[in-house]
Amino acid sequence: MDDLTEMLKGTLEGCVLEIIGSEETYGYAITRRLNELGFVDVIEGTVYTILLRLEKNGLVQVTKRPSGQGPPRKFYALNSAGRKELATFWAKWEYLSSRIDKLKEGGR
């Protein structure tokens, strides 16, 4: 689907939290995961800015690990604040999507 960027903006952080929440991972792998999911326009730079914010806000634990080629890679895992944030994200998402579904069905 084309041009999801604007709509995706507010939810991408939650998506990244979810991906990190299932296993410790790094920027490029997160980007690929999102691309495979169908968010083809998401680029590494965007994911990087999200990871930086998660780090600054103390939601992730960052570990540098050597990579096969080039400099060490930063791996991200959720800490307890991050898990709480993820739960909040899903709660908000449930609320939002249930309201919008209702609107679409013409209910009140």
Binding site: I43, E44, G45, T46, L52, S67, Q69, G70, P71
Partner: protein
């Protein structure tokens, strides 16, 4: 970030810029232009926070994986920069807040 820290930080700064110089030319160009923009916008944690070193870490990884810089961050460098700054107040923000506070009292 105090001035004294800046002077003491000169050595780190030189080491940082040496890493920048070692990047491939396209990364080098983008980094320098970004830095100029970030200096002007002036987030308070620019010099002691993770923004600048983080960019170099990220660029080194991208370059090592054989990607071009625009492939990595897209052509809209300004939006990339603003996303980096999202949670950082700028010197201008703080200055404005301080005069508004004075005006309130």
């Amino acid at each position: 970030m105090g001035i004294q820290d800046l002077i003491e930080g000169k050595k780190q700064w030189r080491a940082h810029m040496a890493r920048v110089k070692a990047l491939p030319p396209d990364y080098h160009i983008v980094y320098k232009e970004m830095q100029k923009y970030l200096f002007k916008v002036g987030p308070v944690d620019l010099l002691d926070g993770p923004i600048l070193t983080g960019i170099v870490d990220f660029f080194e990884e991208g370059a090592a994986a054989g990607k071009g810089v625009l492939q990595l961050i897209g052509p809209d460098i300004a939006t990339f920069c603003d996303d980096l700054l999202k949670d950082s107040p700028t010197h201008a923000d703080i200055y404005q807040r301080s005069i508004n506070q004075n005006a309130d009292t």
